[in-house]
């Protein structure tokens, strides 16, 4: 299977695209054929992502290259200069780590949505858009080219908004779709403008090439500001988060989790740009503290806004916003000290990056559970729920697992990553750790509210309390991920998180050298 390993990066994009275009044709054959096909595509994609991750982490997270459309990536000029002109996928530990997250979330999301669309029409186009979104997210994470990054960013924007507004008979989903698409497009234009500025200055679009020649001039700083704002918006950092509760809350339940993965991919783009593209040509302390400021705002505002929501999906959506803050905090602490490179900076990076994976699993689980709860009660209003635990024991247990993990209660996985973040942030400034810990406690209070309002109380009549197997299996799978990552964090930190953190923290030279051949 040498060929498959070699082509894994492009297959990760080509296979979901193939699925996206073929699903409407196969959907004409009937629901069973469509579900089989989509499930097969999702499984193959996840398997290829696992293979890619195994390859990359097998070589310790060293970057590897895939060139589209030719043997070599360059075009040797008569002068002997080898210019990287072809489209390049460059995969290092961080990219492979993100690919793992995306595979986990999209696989469970695809399987969850089979049951979700069982009694409704329109599932075919929904799956087509889901596959398109998957391809776009993988593209953002694997590409080594600035403009390609923009194209995949826009593909995810369009597919994501198509999914948010998919249920056209719901009034709020249309409003959310319009708002999110408008803001996504604006942020995308910022990114494109920045790409244009960088191209005009250096005449290249390849990230490694740009990183090797970038100087930190005024125009670079302008481009950096545009990229920072645009990607922070798509990641959902406060005060640019207003679209996030609309998007996560109004999308169909299986999609909300994938939308979080999409936000994380934008976050990955931001980190890639800060660490690899700009590196030390800019004042990393300034940018690190900007990230930390955004992180504190995001954590605090996200949690406090979640506390007062009475719509269960909007509540989970706000807690998803607050978790983005922990990733920003961890990596921001790392960036702020990345000149001196003390030990706690690396620990902070590990925590922030590990939390991406943990958050994807927990928040996916919580969104799925909220989807099941909404299905059972027929309402999204927490004030009209109650007594679900009488008839839905397993769902309540899964909810407790997800909520405890997200709030950072030991021994679940959220605690493992938050532990690293708290410790390292405390080293930089105790204030950061205090805010982070207090917000985690508040988050636990938020979920206690949900548990009390929806699951406890006396038994209510008229519930559709049976949970179909197709919904239960993805939830149990995510819960298993939560527990396993919680009980054996050391193994995963060593094997996959450390290479990913290394790739950002130390890997800039290796990233550049791979394309420019050591010179």
């Amino acid at each position: 299977m040498i060929a498959l390993t070699n082509h894994a990066p492009v297959l990760l994009i080509a296979i979901p695209l193939l699925g996206a275009f073929a699903v409407p044709l196969i959907g004409k054959l009937g629901r069973g054929a469509r579900n089989t096909f989509v499930g097969l595509i999702a499984l193959i994609t996840a398997a290829v992502a696992g293979l890619l991750a195994a390859t990359v982490f097998g070589q310790g997270g060293a970057p590897s290259l895939y060139v589209l459309g030719g043997q070599g990536f360059g075009l040797p000029l008569p002068s002997g200069l080898n210019v990287p002109i072809r489209i390049i996928f460059e995969i290092d530990g961080m990219g492979a780590f993100m690919a793992l997250i995306t595979a986990l979330v999209t696989l469970t999301g695809a399987f969850f949505s089979f049951s979700y669309w069982r009694n409704r029409s329109g599932g075919t186009l929904f799956h087509s858009l889901l596959m398109l979104l998957t391809a776009g997210i993988f593209g953002m994470e694997l590409t080594g080219d600035m403009f390609n990054f923009f194209v995949f960013l826009e593909i995810t924007s369009i597919a994501a908004c198509g999914l948010i507004g998919f249920r056209v008979w719901l009034k709020h989903s249309q409003e959310a779709g319009f708002k999110v698409m408008a803001l996504y497009t604006l942020s995308g234009m910022f990114v494109l403008l920045a790409v244009g500025l960088l191209y005009g200055q250096y005449g290249g679009l390849n990230i490694a090439y740009l990183a090797s020649v970038i100087t930190g001039s005024t125009i670079d700083i302008v481009a950096l500001g545009l990229l920072f704002t645009g990607l922070a918006l798509k990641a959902g950092a406060v005060p640019l988060h207003m679209w996030a509760p609309d998007a996560y809350g109004e999308a169909p339940a299986p999609m909300s989790a994938v939308l979080v993965a999409n936000s994380q991919a934008s976050l990955y783009g931001l980190f890639r740009i800060l660490f690899t593209l700009f590196g030390l040509t800019i004042s990393v302390a300034t940018l690190g503290w900007m990230l930390i400021a955004l992180a504190l705002l995001t954590i605090f505002v996200g949690v406090t806004m979640a506390l007062i929501q009475s719509d269960i999906k909007r509540l989970v959506a706000y807690s998803a916003v607050s978790q983005i803050g922990y990733m920003l905090l961890g990596v921001g602490v790392g960036l702020a000290v990345s000149v001196a490179k003390p030990d706690f900076g690396f620990v902070a990076m590990q925590g922030g990056i590990f939390h991406m994976l943990n958050d994807a699993a927990c928040i996916g689980l919580l969104f799925f559970v909220s989807g099941v709860v909404i299905r059972a009660t027929g309402t999204r209003d927490l004030n009209r729920m109650g007594g679900l635990a009488h008839s839905m024991k397993w769902t309540s247990i899964l909810f407790i697992i997800g909520a405890f993990a997200l709030a950072g209660v030991p021994p679940f996985n959220g605690f493992a990553s938050k532990f690293l973040i708290y410790e390292a942030a405390f080293k930089l400034s105790p204030f950061l750790a205090v805010v982070a810990i207090l917000s985690s406690i508040l988050l636990l209070a938020v979920f206690v509210k949900v548990f009390q309002a929806a699951f406890l109380g006396t038994r209510q009549e008229g519930l559709e309390s049976d949970v179909p197997m197709g919904m239960m299996i993805p939830m149990v799978a995510l819960a298993l991920v939560v527990i396993v990552f919680g009980l054996f964090p050391g193994f995963f930190v060593d094997k996959i998180v450390t290479p990913a953190a290394n790739a950002l923290w130390y890997g800039r030279d290796a990233y550049i050298d791979l394309v420019l051949g050591g010179g």
Partner: protein, 156 residues
């Protein structure tokens, strides 16, 4: 409002429709030699469809432009594009297998200024066709969906 526009518009549309189609297909076909390509040509063809729709109304195009057929063709165009990408997977995705092979679209191209060799370009002209098919049917489907939806609202 389903009957379309005035006689003048309909007559002019009948005259221009064929020309627009021919020009669009020309732009797709010569995409590897002249400015243009799959997207541009497809957009031109789709604009001809749009003209038809505006002039004759959504009732007038019944039987001529079937939305399901358009969507199917769109998927086929996209799949053909991907298939052309997979064609070169022996070397790399999107590798241009046919160029300079002497076969289909495989004529070698002389270095330097020349009049352009139509049978050159390898998989590129085929990709232009795939993209053109996707774009022309896709945009036409979008226009029909939006127009039919808007008309439905007017009549309600």
């Amino acid at each position: 409002m389903n009957t379309g526009m005035s006689l003048i518009v309909r007559t002019v549309t009948r005259l221009v429709y064929g020309l627009a189609l021919v020009f669009g297909f020309y732009v797709i076909m010569h995409g590897h030699l002249t400015p243009g390509g799959g997207f541009q040509g497809g957009a031109v063809v789709a604009s001809a469809f749009a003209l038809l729709l505006v002039a004759f109304g959504s009732a007038g195009i019944k039987g001529h432009l079937n939305q399901h057929l358009l969507q199917t063709l769109e998927e086929i165009g996209a799949l053909a594009f991907l298939a052309l990408g997979f064609l070169g997977i022996g070397t790399a995705f999107f590798y241009n297998l046919l160029v300079n092979s002497g076969g289909l679209f495989g004529s070698p191209v002389p270095i330097g200024p020349n009049a352009g060799v139509f049978a050159a370009g390898g998989t590129l002209p085929l990709m232009n066709w795939a993209v053109g098919l996707k774009v022309m049917t896709g945009i036409a489907a979008i226009i029909i969906a939006m127009l039919v939806g808007a008309r439905k609202e007017e009549t309600e």
